[in-house]
Symmetry: C3
Subunit: 682 residues, 3 copies
């Protein structure tokens, strides 16, 4: 599968001659004369790939079984004549009104019990048979008609898969899913009762028919039931993707098939999904109104790359502002370009936008576009055009790989465990923020980072960072032990290893899973009071701030490296270190202030012998490398809009965007990007 | 129609001998002996008009078809015997429980999908046929029984029309309404598809049966659909009013028929409604807990006057505190009197209250009343009594008109465009607050202001102020051009003229509608970051604060008069001015701080040759004039509770409340009111 | 009834040899070998009573009519063999899934109209006949099987009764309840119409079938209807308790039967409930994250004692943290012990916990337990074990009584009046916080306080404190008058005596009920503006802060003792005092700052001749006494975790926990507890 996927993506790369550049194109919103201007301007801007048909179901099948492909034929032909390839979408993310009205049972039921009706998008119950049949029909029609069209370069299945449903249909499929997980019949039900700990609060099931999605109110429902429902909800969505993927692949199997993921999206376990795609694709809209949104962006980019360990597709970004938030800030001049190169620096092989031309009407009429309402005189158009014409200068980068020695755990089971169930010592965990907090110092210190999940192979890394991994599997525990015993460094932060995959507290507690690794146990978790802060004293006498959480740690084989400087836990360990086999474990039992967490992490990384991408650069400069068999590319991005930097280079090379040779150091004005092909290959 | 309305209102004025003074009277809540005390005290307080029967349906028709008019007969007779006229209400704002229980389909369905049940009031679906039939029946009965009763002076249809319904009934009527707007059959449907831009997100309709009110969740639904649903919801309510109005008028057509409006009420387009009334009536409850509530009150008063260009009826206010808010502050001594004269100063021909006597029970038992729970010893009673006995001294004012040279746009289409649809560059517009922000400096500088809508005749004004008019019609654009070309001054603030009445972005953008007028275009809208402030430098070198919004303006024929002093738009225009025909346009591209907006507005007004009502007075003194054919009345109101003022007078006259002659200047102690009949007529 | 109850409780005390010590025990969650460890550790910790079966319905009746008592037989036998008594619960607080699925009509309908489904607990509609039948069946089975089991010491009916339902079933029972209150037939309906003041807003009922629970939205519904619905909701729950109580008592009537109450629980009128119990039992979870939670705890303890005027049962508390809040703080070392003795000091005859052993799974897996996840090495276990072994040293205290001369009104009718209805001058009253505000100074000054309700006998007290008693009955007014006329001192704070039990404003107002008592009337209530503060000047010239509320008081027989020092009510009375018969009334018309309220209350208490429990002790030391026929016990508890105190003793005695003789004074280190048997008996 992976090899076939690589071949398909190599084919795409070859076809496009390097990077993909383009965006969603919705010709069905415009009169035919506009199309000619569109393709002319696309060529002017260097567009080589557009996504067609994402929300075109009603335009393709205005009434059940009546298909209107003429306009799409024309659009495909026109694009092909102009040398622009097509990423053709199945339009199944937005069923036509006739489907919703004839089959209201195909609409999803939301968490509050209301039906999510026609009028928005994603108004389908992923478990609905009737929806799936109609989706399969239009997909089959499209596959048969366009699979051999010369413009076709990629299949785009659905869009931003996401609906969650608590419907009766969901109940039926949930039951089947549980029977696959726990076995069916009476013994399976008994296994379910055990896993869900139904002896608590009289929740024992005596028949499979009694099992259903969490009921209203859902906040206090059985935590194992909620967890399994989150897993199921990801899987039932994935089934929708797979069904359409298999249809298009059955007609032609040599072009990539994928769907588009979203930033920090909790409902779909992208690790499971990525295995089924030819490449990972991401839609991302970092908030230009927040100075730190580039950190979460970088993390998501690294995650996309890590999901398959391959280059990925930046499928959607905004040319400037979006329109869905309360306040939608524009991307100031230079920011869109910088963000585009940031994606490439972290492994993207494309720069794509939503969307080509701004819509006159509809919910997203003020969402910026490559070609905005104010036309080709607009700043954003000029920036888009310039970028499209600049990208070919780094075409050699396309397809190149990344390498990292630091792994950071980002797993959906951990996420669901912390956020979808209740009854924790604190119930305000924000898992993406926690992981981002651990990622930021590594990024700012110019370390290459891979994201890993509970099932990942850890053997290639020197350092493993595990932030607040409340729920872990036995396999992960074993893998982590092998990793450390073999000489690896594990940095683990508080409230980790607490429960098993059924959300049951591991015994003996705490932390059931990691006790041997951290060389101690926790008598009690001590969430901090509202606003409480406490001093932590390190061995060197320095004192730092911490807040939010404490643990009363009992040392076994570990030794403390920092202690609480006051309060009820005064002189008790706050950070501990343990030798385990040939490796070591640093366990952080509190929420250290940003600088202290940074120092602790970087000390561990340094002593594990991991070198940063560049030795010397300000934290606002991002540095990454990509590698091919015979070349090495250094990316340097200055994220400051006011400060310049001069970054010493490890070797001479050529800056590809300017074509200039560089040697000792390179100056980076505000918002500057440098892509240096290093003279010393890989 | 208008002439007949004027005649009816003149008849009422004549009957009452000047101002109406009184309130809602609910004798059905009290035993018969209390009534005698009521009328005695009414006479003592100068009451000449009471509103009967507003929520009396269950008292008049306790069971379907069984009518109990005896008590109302008695009340009418008693009032008549005591020389008190009656504003008789149709009781249809609160259907009896038997109607709600027999016909639950007549209950409205709220935005969240829940049925709004019996137990409150306004629990009717305005589209419900069965509700309308029952409402027509009781209205007919009342009309036949009381039209010739000598106490009858006015018909009060329903109360505070407001229910919004998303029911199936609403769907049917909404479809019919759309067919009237877009045409029926296939071509109408195609026009609807075009107007609603249904090619976006696969929303195309292929049958009228598919069209329905916005579905849950409604926040992201099609913006044109939401807009049309807002228009429809106003119209379907209006149908309820019209049906009852026509019934009472068919029996007797020489007395006024109206309903009562509310302060800043988004659900009903009062411009359309006002055309159908004999006079506009307002219920208003300015929050005594907020120092600035007098500004919004004045704006609403001016709006009420402008809706028909006639004196209006202050139908409900509180003698002191209300009871519906979290904290209900009392009106301190003197404030009720001041607010009453403020209404008159802005064109009211009445001072009416909710309600005459405080209810012992029910939801509003702590809502203050003319006659409070603590009786005639109470402060509020004494103030009510004094006011009622003072009003006759200004009887000559009743029926007089107002004149203004400044017009301020306040239009429901603009409001709905900004607030009921989503996906704007910012989604936190507060249209009433925006308009109030533009009104306040005019009020404080003592300028007379008319409110206008998109359909108003602009020819009588010198200055037109257009605050954030996101959505405008082609007719308005043409009228605005004629207005300016003919020498008028237009002051227009940011994000105006952007979309057409279908909520589609006008092309070329931005601002599609006003580009020629403002002499430039906007490349991009730049909403400000949370908390961001920026300096704006004026031509005279002064620098002021602005926030919330910026635009990157490209000048064409206009010239800049203020620039951003820093930031990414440094030295780009913030305020521009354009000569257009014989007139000029000032376009304000940001949210100027209060003083800067004031200076900009007042400079424009001044240079347009508009004179204030008085030349010299502190901003806390309100000044207005009313005119009859042969008299001119100057109102001066001191809204400060601590500062006195002395206001120079343009001419000598007589202060009517005291009967004293005044000449050069008049002193105004805190909370003082002066009504001066000027010696120089109009 | 009361005598029988006392005998039953005396039997229990004798059986346990003093205090009950133990907790909820859920052996059904654990494998059989764990049980042996459980009982071993229970004995080690001095456990003598455990509550079995609270949520065991599904374990006892896994399918309708199939009962599985074997495990419970084993558990009862095992406990008995180990000398541990059993408080056996009917498991009816958590119906099995089969009941919810077969009879969804038995599920409650929440305030928002949604059905509260299976998956949590308390998912039963208290009015459901089918639920009641199934509850009666399992209760009967248990009663027959275990009534004569030697381990059985107490019956525990249901758990934390609380469900509220707006279902059709509720409507039927509500109607019957109203018919019992107002009479049935037409005259009863007329009485209902009068009481509910249905002439307001057209709410008149003409048939009993029209009467129903408050509809959606409920916020603006008829205030008398809401009030009666609150009363009904408490009563319909009580019926569920009574039905099960009567079943177990019919089999054996010599052991106590009770259920467990909650802290400040608005839905059930515990005064009515307490009459039906053999003893009052309380579940309480003071938030360790708030420094002042000990005050509300003490108040609830005093309330529990006052409900029956007898010792009560602390049925559930946490050994350390709970898990249901956003942040769940631990009880620091020593706090659990201190809190346990605090309960005893205020009349508890037990120290019980939820739960014995921490659950591995389920919603409360992180709720602390006597035996925590981290086992017998844990701090909390050590503290539990120590406490259990310490308690026998004060066994003589069990069964002893309390005495108070100060009564503080805490009544559910007052509560419901202030909080469940709307339309008050302010709508943010927090009744428990108000009463706690009046209780705190009494507690801190070491006064013994009884709580009383509107129906209590006041004759035994010297001082009656009435905080914000908006709604009072005529009987209470008469009793209060007798109390004061007879020489008692009444301290009453603002907005008291305003409405009658139908929520109708008493006439003449205000305060209809207390006018004669306070010797004045209130012209108008003046809620304060947001954030407004005002100075109050006392007769001695001192000035204090007040906020939130003012009243414009008109003196009749009273004299003012404090005045507003500024503002619109400057020099008007803020606090007044009235002689009434042989007694006096202090009426406080504003919300005095904490210290001023304290001084006012304590001055009244002092001048009424009430002596504190100890003469001299810091406010952070709590002091109470308990009495038997021949002994007197003084409790001293130091709630500070940093300050020590030395408390002078009125007489010599023996400190029971240490067995040491004490005389002049006793030192109390932080968190210390002393229980002194005074040499001078009672």
């Amino acid at each position: 599968m992976t090899r076939a996927a690589s071949a398909r993506m190599a084919g795409l790369r070859e076809r496009l001659g390097g990077f993909a550049f383009g965006g969603d194109y919705n010709p069905e919103q415009w009169d035919r004369p506009v199309w000619d201007e569109d393709v002319r301007l696309m060529r002017q801007a260097g567009v080589n790939l557009v996504t067609l048909g994402v929300f075109a179901w009603a335009s393709l099948e205005p009434e059940p079984g009546r298909f209107t492909f003429d306009w799409l034929d024309d659009a495909m032909d026109l694009l092909h004549r102009n040398g622009i390839s097509v990423d053709l979408a199945t339009p199944t993310a937005a069923p036509p009104v006739w489907l919703s009205q004839r089959h209201p049972g195909g609409l999803p039921v939301m968490e509050d019990g209301e039906v999510f009706g026609f009028g928005n998008r994603l108004h389908f119950d992923p478990g609905s048979q009737i929806y799936r049949e109609h989706a399969a029909r239009i997909t089959t029609k499209l596959a048969r008609r366009y699979s051999r069209h010369p413009a076709l370069a990629m299949w785009h299945i659905g869009n931003e898969y996401g609906p969650l449903s608590y419907s009766d249909t969901a109940a039926i499929r949930f039951r089947r899913w549980l029977q696959r997980r726990y076995g069916d019949g009476a013994s399976g039900l008994e296994a379910l009762n055990d896993a869900w700990y139904t002896r608590f609060w009289s929740q024992r099931y005596t028949s499979w028919e009694q099992v259903a999605p969490p009921e209203i109110p859902r906040s206090w429902s059985n935590p194992a039931r909620r967890l399994d429902f989150a897993r199921f909800s990801s899987d039932v969505l994935l089934e929708c993707f797979l069904a359409e993927r298999d249809i298009v692949r059955s007609v032609r199997d040599d072009i990539p098939v994928l769907t588009n993921f979203m930033r920090f999206y909790r409902r779909a376990d992208y690790w499971r999904w990525a295995d089924e795609e030819d490449a990972v694709a991401l839609d991302i809209y970092p908030d230009p109104g927040r100075d730190d949104s580039r950190v979460a962006a970088a993390l998501n980019f690294d995650l996309m790359r890590s999901l398959r360990g391959q280059p990925w597709i930046l499928m959607e970004q905004a040319a400037s502002a979006v329109s869905q938030w309360t306040v939608n800030n524009v991307k100031p001049p230079g920011r869109m370009r910088l963000g585009s190169y940031q994606a490439i620096a972290h492994g993207s092989d494309s720069v794509m936008f939503f969307q080509w031309r701004a819509s006159r009407g509809g919910h997203e009429r003020f969402h910026s576009a490559m070609l905005p309402h104010s036309g080709t005189g607009a700043r954003t158009w000029r920036e888009v055009e310039a970028l499209g014409n600049e990208l070919p200068s780094i075409a050699a980068v396309a397809g190149s790989q990344s390498r990292a020695q630091v792994a950071l755990l980002f797993d959906w089971d951990c996420w669901w465990g912390l956020e979808t169930t209740h009854g924790l010592p604190r119930n305000d965990f924000d898992y993406p923020a926690i992981v981002t907090g651990h990622y930021r110092p590594l990024l700012e210190a110019h370390h290459a980072v891979d994201l890993v999940c509970l099932d990942s192979d850890l053997s290639r890394y020197k350092v493993l960072v595990v932030p607040n991994a409340y729920l872990v599997s036995d396999d992960f525990v074993a893998a982590a032990k092998r990793f450390v015993a073999g000489g690896g460094t594990l940095v683990c932060s508080f409230f980790s290893g607490v429960v098993d995959p059924a959300n049951q507290v591991r015994q003996p507690a705490y932390p059931g899973a990691f006790r041997a690794l951290i060389g101690g146990y926790i008598d009690e978790y001590w969430p901090a009071r509202e606003g409480e802060r406490f001093a932590v004293r390190f061995a060197d006498g320095s004192t730092v701030d911490a807040d939010w959480w404490q643990e009363s740690i009992q040392l076994e084989s570990a030794r403390a490296t920092a202690w609480y400087a006051g309060g009820l836990l005064a002189d008790r360990p706050a950070v501990i270190e343990n030798q385990y086999g040939a490796g070591r474990v640093v366990y952080i039992g509190t929420r250290l202030a940003e600088e202290a967490l940074r120092d602790t992490l970087l000390a561990a990384v340094r002593s594990a012998g991991v070198a940063p991408v560049v030795d010397e650069a300000p934290s606002f400069v991002e540095a990454t490398r990509r590698y091919t068999a015979d070349a090495e590319f250094l990316f340097l991005l200055n994220h400051s809009d006011s400060e310049s930097a001069v970054v010493p280079l490890p070797a001479a090379g050529t800056e590809l965007l300017t074509g200039s040779p560089v040697s000792d150091a390179i100056p980076l004005p505000p918002l500057a990007v440098a892509v240096i092909r290093m003279s010393t290959g890989s």
